[in-house]
């Protein structure tokens, strides 16, 4: 057995106990959305399901999936199950086009979220003795605030430094005696490089013990490198704003997958092509039903993340199901420095700018440890040739739009018309040259 503190008794229930709780909560959730969300009511009726029809967990597979596009169709609050006066917090992530995906929390949801984070930070090794530096960007994205609440809940001292300004991050780490680092894995590696440039040896000069990484996937080699460079113990955690934010699952020191808080989330693995439910250990798309959320319960959400589920009891003592490292995506979503971006969003931005053509090519690669993105677009407006200033301002305008609408820093290359590849059928507009996961 591994020596690892367990935050909550619910992490060690026996399977039958989980199943009883899950069924009861699933029924309640379905009743709730049936009553409060016309969109779900319609959807369930179309599938021939009344709330009373759910009699076992097996009946879950009859319920229609929810997909990201359902959020777009119901923008901003159409999927909410609580009146606005009960909402105490909003967050948002990028949608597939234009409008963001909006999520809301009631007071109880906030308590649930803190509880979930308390569990994953505890399983990562953090205690009330620790000083936790949160280097996720604070704002509409769920990452920073989610970790923040849970870390406070367990009594850790939180440094809400947000992302960026790397040299200051290192200085604060040193001066405040940071023991836990919370960031994306790629930012952690970037920070390590900056620390080295500053002449700081993390093992000698800093006090880091724990690294809690999320927001994007990572490989075992990245983990090893982070451990090696920082002299800390790195774990990964998983979540997405549609489900609650971070806190859906996290790794314990056994490093054999991420424990899903099953008393709050009901996971399934499906074949992404057929939608058929797959068995334990089989690799497919993760589908999650939230069973305790008030403001925004979501039925069978297709995460598009490819993984597998494992139910045997873990060395750490927890009995919650574990999901393996995310192996990829079943859609074309890109994760750029922890920010989710769909090629369709980039297209949306480009189409609204005059002077350039509808064709584009996106190139993603690593510079050092950071994701870099380049967008090639075809110049079509000859009037801009009068001066460089005009071309330069077009370039700036495209960059600015990509930054404000999508939150990404991209280098923009203007190229001549008809020089970008044309596609018949499905376009391959994204060239991802980052390490294959």
């Amino acid at each position: 057995m591994i020596d690892n503190k367990i935050w909550s008794r619910e992490e060690t229930l026996v399977r039958e106990e989980f199943e009883t709780i899950q069924l009861e909560r699933l029924k309640k959730t379905i009743e709730r959305v049936f009553q409060n969300v016309p969109y779900y009511k319609e959807k369930l009726k179309e599938a021939g399901i009344e709330p009373g029809d759910i009699k076992s967990l097996g009946d879950l597979s009859a319920i229609p999936f929810t997909v990201k596009d359902d959020f777009r169709k119901n923008y901003p609050f159409g999927l909410f199950s609580s009146p606005k006066r009960d909402i105490v917090r909003f967050h948002a992530s990028s949608g597939t086009t234009g409008k963001p995906t909006v999520v809301g929390y009631t007071r109880k949801d906030m308590a649930t979220w803190s509880e979930l984070i308390a569990r994953i930070v505890t399983m990562a090794g953090v205690t009330d003795e620790d000083t936790a530096q949160i280097s996720f960007g604070y704002g509409l994205f769920t990452g920073a605030f989610g970790l923040h609440q849970g870390l406070e809940r367990i009594g850790a001292a939180v440094i809400p430094i947000s992302s960026g300004n790397t040299e200051k991050q290192i200085m604060i780490m040193q001066d405040f005696g940071t023991t836990a680092l919370i960031s994306t894995p790629s930012y952690a590696l970037h920070m390590a490089e900056v620390a080295a440039e500053m002449g700081i040896d993390p093992k000698r000069d800093l006090s880091l013990k724990w690294g809690l990484f999320g927001g994007e996937g990572s490989t075992e080699s990245m983990r090893n490198e982070i451990n090696e460079r920082w002299g800390l113990f790195a774990t990964e955690n998983y979540g997405m704003s549609e489900l609650i934010g971070p806190g859906v699952s996290g790794e314990c020191p056994a490093l054999k997958g991420m424990h899903i808080s099953e008393d709050h989330f009901l996971p399934e693995i499906i074949d992404p092509k057929t939608g058929k439910v797959l068995g334990e250990g089989e690799v497919g798309e993760l589908v999650i039903t939230t069973i305790t959320k008030e403001a925004l319960p979501i039925l069978r959400y297709r995460t598009k993340d490819i993984t597998s589920l494992h139910y045997e009891k873990c060395e750490c003592g927890r009995t919650t199901v574990r999901m393996s490292k995310i192996q990829g995506r079943s859609d074309d979503m890109l994760i750029l420095g922890g920010v989710n971006v769909f090629p369709s969003q980039i297209e949306d931005v480009l189409l609204q700018i005059d002077g350039i053509g509808p064709h584009y090519q996106i190139k993603v690669f690593k510079k050092g440890y950071l994701d870099k993105i380049e967008v090639d677009v075809e110049l079509v407006d000859a009037n801009l040739l009068d001066s460089f200033a005009l071309l330069e301002s077009l370039n700036q305008k495209i960059k600015h739009q990509l930054r404000t609408v999508l939150g990404i820093e991209a280098k923009v290359n203007l190229v001549e018309p008809r020089s970008l590849a044309r596609f018949e059928g499905k376009a391959k507009r994204v060239i991802d040259m980052r390490e294959v996961k």
């Binding site: 110049l379 079509v380 407006d381 000859a382 009037n383 040739l385 009068d386 001066s387 460089f388 071309l391 290359n413 203007l414 190229v415 001549e416 018309p417 008809r418 020089s419």
Partner: protein, 143 residues
């Protein structure tokens, strides 16, 4: 008095100039002057040819971003300070130069200077008034 110049968008890569000149040769268009203004990623090629309107039509048809714009060509005298005189006239008239390049016509001794300024009409007026030889388009386009 303004002459027509063609501005062409060219990517900074091998062969992009010859690709252009190939097209112009094929259509029997003569280049009188050429200048490239570039950044690290792309360039704007500016050329003066004997038949600018036809040249642009051909280039556009080939999918090349090209545009006719008007510039001033002047012929400085062959003596020290003649360029300074041109620039002084423009400065005193509060006219800004956007860019400048020069080229040689074989039968002439002195190079021509091509100027793009923010107020072209006024520049031509002021330069002419100060006795500077502004070249008319016939002189440039003639074979």
């Amino acid at each position: 008095m303004l002459i027509k110049q063609i501005s062409i968008f060219i990517p900074n890569k091998k062969g992009s100039l010859s690709q252009l000149t190939d097209i112009l040769i094929a259509h029997n268009i003569d280049i009188r002057a050429i200048a490239v203004f570039d950044t690290t990623e792309f360039g704007i090629l500016r050329i003066v040819v004997d038949d600018p309107d036809r040249a642009v039509e051909i280039l556009n048809k080939e999918g090349i971003v090209a545009k006719v714009s008007k510039v001033i060509a002047v012929e400085p005298e062959d003596k020290p300070g003649s360029l300074n005189q041109i620039f002084s006239v423009l400065r005193d008239s509060d006219i800004n130069i956007e860019y400048i390049y020069s080229f040689i016509m074989r039968k002439k001794e002195m190079p021509y200077i091509v100027l793009k300024v923010d107020d072209q009409e006024k520049a031509v007026e002021e330069l002419t008034a100060k006795g500077i030889n502004v070249i008319n388009k016939e002189e440039i386009y003639a074979k």
